[in-house]
């Protein structure tokens, strides 16, 4: 089995080159795949993997995250179980509409539980890309409500 120090040596070596991928086959048949993350320098935090399959799946997961980061989207989830309300009442305009630009701390919706209203506020600036839940529908705790896109 490869020694963690050995792997660190490979990582150190990689960081001095511009090689994107490095596959190492140990004498016992164990395969280690090191892959450079786009735009990220190698550091000592790469975890040792037992098999090629695992390594690939981990990298795949990481690259999915990278894609999301490229789009700079984030999701506001429900702070509690209750009724999702986009406005105070039918006579009032909705707090947000798709395409609207919002500020950090701005009220974007309200969750009603037993006649108690709890504000849902945006944790950051952004543009409302999609409202995932219909007005007045029940939502559970942690359910995604609104997709925001970061302002460029």
């Amino acid at each position: 089995m490869a020694n963690i120090n050995d792997i660190q040596q490979y990582i150190d070596f990689l960081s001095t080159t511009d090689i994107e991928e490095l596959e190492i086959t140990a004498p016992d048949g164990e395969v280690i795949l090191l892959k450079r993350k786009p735009g990220i320098q190698y550091s000592g935090s790469i975890k040792k993997q037992q098999s090629l399959g695992e390594t690939e799946s981990q990298i795949k997961q990481e690259s999915t995250k990278e894609e999301q980061k490229d789009k700079k989207e984030f999701v506001i989830t429900s702070p509690m179980v209750g009724k999702f309300l986009l406005s105070i009442s039918k006579d009032h305009p909705p707090f947000i509409v798709e395409g609207a630009q919002i500020k950090q701390g701005q009220k974007v919706a309200v969750i009603e539980t037993m006649k108690i209203l709890r504000d849902v506020v945006s944790p950051q600036d952004g543009v409302v890309k999609k409202i995932l839940v219909e007005d007045s529908k029940f939502v559970e705790y942690g359910q995604p409500l609104i997709v925001l896109e970061e302002v460029k």
């Binding site: 509690m80 209750g82 539980t113 037993m114 559970e140 705790y141």
Partner: protein, 457 residues
């Protein structure tokens, strides 16, 4: 009849309720916290809804979230299980106000039995024997009249928190000298643990048996009692092994205790399932301790041994649901007979070699016991990770035998078959107790562990 039942609980008891509801043709809703998304109860219900993060105060104890979950799923009734909100009278009240059926007793019954001093007064009024003790809660530990009253009871005495339960906040005092400090400490502790410094003092019964009576009562005023359970094997007032019937209770005494429990239930107009707990001395004198206004962990022991009109047909949770729906009981106490002997072992994720230290973690593999006369109520499975937020109970192993000796042998056989890898459990502890000569002979009191297990260790 209830159409859709939301179970405001988790783990094995949530599964127990889901099973009963399904057999009655009632739709089920599981609620769960973020920490419980892989818990088995969420997989067995017809619907599930996440109601909050891991800590119980923000999920299983959050009344607004649970009511909201009822609204969201259209549930017309809530079963609280045991623990969490099961004995919270305010929850029962809110359910009622929201038009949701609470599968349990009325809020008044919960309130009356929740205050231990009040409960004792009601029991006394109903003619149920109570442990000699002071009439009112302690207000001033330096009060001369109070000290005199306590001396009259005779030492040793036990100090209990009025709002306490589960054995918390109790203290035994052997002499007048240590009384004052004990009272002061108990008041302080009670305030911290239960938000009230209301404490009371009773005669301490030495080496007693904990005997309890399961009752069922409908909304029309019919009450039935079941054969007693002996829950004397306790560690720090937490029950570990329960059995039924009690080996020293004869038919005459059984009727006497059963009727006492019935009288108390009638006195407060109780309905639903409930348990009246008694403490019993060596002479068979029994005294009321408290009433639990919920379904209890050990209810399967009663289900195992009770015959109704000669048939093995008792499902206490189903009865609870039927009563909540307004149905009348279809049998009375005379229709109930005993068949065999049942024992339950509570399997906890605790290390018995390390002072029962909780041992959460991932269950790598598990093999369940089976065969004739064995029942396992559990929510664990291979690959399941026990969250750190909740109770350590992971399984209830119940066996039924033709007599006590067969039940003991069957339990030992089942405990041998029960293999849980990845975490420490109380299985080795149960094996040890069941092989102790005193247990086999039925010398079982609440002092058992201290007397036979830990002194030997």
């Amino acid at each position: 009849m209830i159409k859709k039942l939301l179970i405001a609980n988790r783990g094995e008891i949530a599964i127990r309720v889901i099973r009963a509801a399904k057999e009655l043709g009632i739709k089920t809703v599981a609620i769960y916290s973020e920490a419980d998304k892989d818990c088995l109860h969420t997989m067995l219900a017809d619907e599930k809804i996440c109601i909050g993060p891991g800590p119980a105060t923000e999920s299983y104890l959050s009344i607004p979230s649970i009511i909201s979950a009822c609204e969201a799923t259209g549930a017309d009734a809530v079963h609280p299980g045991y623990g969490f909100l099961s004995e919270n009278s305010y929850f029962a009240e809110v359910c009622e106000a929201c038009g949701i059926i609470f599968v349990g007793p009325s809020k008044e019954s919960i309130e009356k039995m929740g205050d231990k001093i009040e409960a004792k007064k009601i029991a006394k009024k109903a003619g149920v024997p109570v442990v000699p003790g002071i009439e009112e809660s302690v207000k001033n530990p330096d009060d001369i009249a109070l000290i005199k009253e306590i001396k009259k009871i005779g030492f040793p005495v036990i100090i209990k928190a009025a709002m306490g339960g589960g054995g918390k906040g109790m203290r035994i005092v052997n002499s007048e000298e240590s009384l004052r400090i004990a009272l002061l400490t108990a008041m302080e502790e009670s305030k911290k643990a239960f938000g009230s410094d209301k404490i009371y003092v009773e005669k301490y019964i030495e080496e007693p048996k904990h005997v309890e009576i399961q009752i069922l009562a409908d909304k029309k005023g019919n009450v039935v009692y079941f054969p007693e359970r002996d829950c004397s094997i306790q560690r720090r007032h937490q029950k570990l092994i329960e059995e039924s019937p009690c080996s020293v209770v004869n038919e005459h005494l059984r009727k006497k205790i059963g009727r006492a429990a019935t009288k108390l239930a009638e006195e407060i107009g109780y309905y639903s399932a409930g348990t009246v707990e008694f403490i019993m001395d060596k002479k068979g004198n029994f005294y009321f301790m408290e009433m639990n206004t919920r379904i209890q962990v050990e209810h399967p022991v009663t289900e195992a041994i009770s015959l109704i009109k000669g048939k093995r047909a008792l499902d206490l949770v189903k009865e609870q649901i039927l009563i909540a729906s307004g149905e009348k009981l279809r049998f009375d106490a005379d229709d109930i007979s005993i068949c065999g002997h049942a024992i339950e072992c509570r399997i906890n994720a605790e290390d018995p070699d390390k002072d029962f230290l909780p041992s959460p973690g991932k269950i790598e593999s598990v093999t369940f016991p089976g065969g004739n006369g064995v029942r396992v109520d559990t929510h664990i499975y291979a690959g399941y990770t026990i969250p750190t937020f909740y109770d350590s109970l992971i399984a209830k192993l119940i066996v039924i035998g033709t007599n006590r000796q067969e039940a003991i042998r069957r339990m030992l056989r089942a405990l041998d078959e029960f293999k849980i890898n990845g975490i420490k459990t109380t299985i080795p502890f149960h094996k040890r107790v069941l092989q102790t000569q005193a247990f086999i002979e039925g010398d079982v009191t609440t002092n058992f562990l201290h007397k036979y297990i830990y002194e030997q260790a």
